[in-house]
């Protein structure tokens, strides 16, 4: 019953094109394993991991709007060393594990990649150069030449597929995407959050302790969809669409725009982890209704 949702993504075999986005429940190895085993989960992504631990910003780190969230977590993470130990004890994954990571310099990026990729549980890497609220990260992500350099350095040391997670905060997104692809990236994740703030009119103060945060959720969707569409026009490597997916129709739209898979974040706060099931079912029924036999058949279809 329904269409098989399996996709091949930069060499990874996914049961469904639905991926857990980075930073969403991705700190605990055990929980990641648990989620990776849910039938409708195609892959899971870790929180972005750095060379050293980071506490992130003091609270408040998130603001809720009727049409999305603004988060300013500040990349809290236990650092590579602890995280690998966490993975050691986590058990075996039911679907591919994509390890998200970051670094403040090309060297640090390469070193972090090498360490994380060495873990057998890690199927692929995702380079986060697009976090809008930690300085030193997104500055790299808006410079095509720096991203290219980082990608080729990482690819020289690491055999596993590498995705680059792009920032929607720059007019150069397609240039960055192209530079990453030409430097050897295996795929792109589009997009991270849009830089935003929230102000409390009663206190006359910014709400988030980091002041700036990243907008996710439905408000981001039309922007993220544009980014995927734009990149698909110019770049050949596969794209993981991300931003505001809340229903199976959003999933369909991202795939039609050119995404080979789709990552879910904010929606999980509202619908819970079982949203994977709902979206998989909706997508499968959609494909059946359209008489399509695989997800791949409709990737980028809106460009034709």
């Amino acid at each position: 019953m329904g269409v098989d949702l399996g996709v091949e993504l930069a060499g990874l075999n996914l049961r469904t094109p639905l991926i857990l986005a980075s930073g969403i429940l991705g700190l605990s190895g055990r929980l990641l394993v648990e989620i990776s085993r849910i039938e409708d989960v195609g892959a899971v992504t870790t929180k972005s991991i750095g060379l050293k631990p980071r506490d992130g910003y003091p609270n408040p780190t998130i603001a809720v709007l009727p049409y999305g969230f603004i988060n300013s977590m500040g990349l809290p993470n236990p650092g590579v060393d602890f995280f690998l130990k966490e993975l050691d004890e986590a058990g075996s994954f039911g679907s591919p594990l994509i390890a998200s990571f970051y670094g403040y310099s090309i060297e640090e990026i390469a070193e972090t990649a090498r360490i994380i990729a060495s873990h057998p549980s890690v199927s692929a890497l995702e380079l986060n150069v697009s976090c809008p609220h930690v300085s030193g990260i997104s500055e790299i992500g808006v410079k095509p030449e720096l991203v290219a350099e980082a990608v080729s350095k990482v690819k020289k040391e690491v055999g596993k597929p590498l995705f680059v997670k792009l920032s929607p905060n720059t007019h150069l997104i397609v240039d960055v995407a192209r530079a990453a692809a030409e430097a050897g990236a295996d795929g792109l994740t589009a997009v991270n959050t849009v830089k935003a703030i929230a102000i409390d009119a009663e206190l006359c103060k910014p709400i988030l302790s980091g002041v700036y945060g990243g907008l996710s959720g439905p408000a981001l969707k039309p922007i993220a969809l544009r980014c995927v569409y734009e990149i698909y026009e110019e770049v050949e490597i596969p794209i993981i669409g991300c931003g505001g997916v809340s229903s199976y129709l959003d999933v369909v739209e991202f795939i039609l725009a050119g995404a080979s898979a789709v990552a879910l974040g904010s929606v999980i706060a509202l619908k819970g982890i079982m949203v994977f099931r709902e979206l998989a079912r909706g997508l499968s029924e959609y494909l059946e209704r359209k008489g399509v036999r695989s997800v791949e058949e409709i990737v980028g279809l809106s460009h034709r």
Binding site: G23, I24, L25, G26, L27, S28, R30, L31, E34, K47, P53, R54, D55, G56, P58, N59, P60, T61, I62, A63, V64, P66, Y67, N71, M73, P76, N77, P78, G79, F82, E86, D200, E202, L203, K205, I207, S209, G217, P218, S246, S247, L249, D250, G265, S266, V267, I268, A269, L270, K271, G272
Partner: protein, 282 residues
Amino acid sequence: MWRRLSVYPIDEEFLEKHRRRVTSIARRVDECIDTVSLYVPDRLSIDSTPGQFLMVWIPGVDEIPLSISYADGGMVGVTVRGIGEATRRLCSFQPGDRIGIRGPLGRGFTVRKGRSLIVGGGIGVAPLRYLVYRLLDIDAEVYVVFGFSDKLHTIFVEEMERLSSGKLIEFHIATEDGSYGFKGTAYDIASSIIREGFDMVYVCGPEALIRKILLLCVEWGIPMEASIEGYMKCGMGICGSCVRGVYRVCRDGPVFDRDKLMEMEEIGLRRRGASGIMEPLI
């Protein structure tokens, strides 16, 4: 109609709970040398369950989880012990000072009729005080055991003694140095009366206490729930900061039952800090 259109899961309750409500402190009560109860008017907390918590924003400082220790007549109260920057600042707040609140969040205790044993240690008595009243509302049989380090750090003791002398609850108190009540810990008392048979044991306090009661209840086969802590950031179940075992304290908890607490394998032993690194609890 809106739902159909937006294809976004507009959970009005979720949205309203998580919008920070900036409000002025209406009443302040000093509970002991380092602990203060603060009361603010709040409509949403009317429907709270004991064990649920608020994210309390101390502007310019931090936003921290605090259990609801009182909710009635449009007022919600929290009881906070000054142990660090945020909690000390909060303890210095006076009526009129403004805080922001989100909540009530998480899953609270199962409020059920029967013979209930409530075991609290230190500031852990905060949610239990609210629980006592809700259990009395449904005419449950309530045994309360509170333990503190010493007389100077006792909280809600007068209040419980009043309920006790009114025959509404049976109340036991222990201090480690014996400066008030029984000399020993809440565990000592609880473990001695637990064999009397209870339908439910509720616990909150230091994790060492929770762990010991947990093992005891497993041994005796008694249903048990405890409110535990995790490092809270988003408070809405997406950031993963508060996860213990495979559960989110902010969303699946902070109250968990015996089986889940056992499954976590870490209660009383270790917990993640702000960065996500697992830290030993002793």
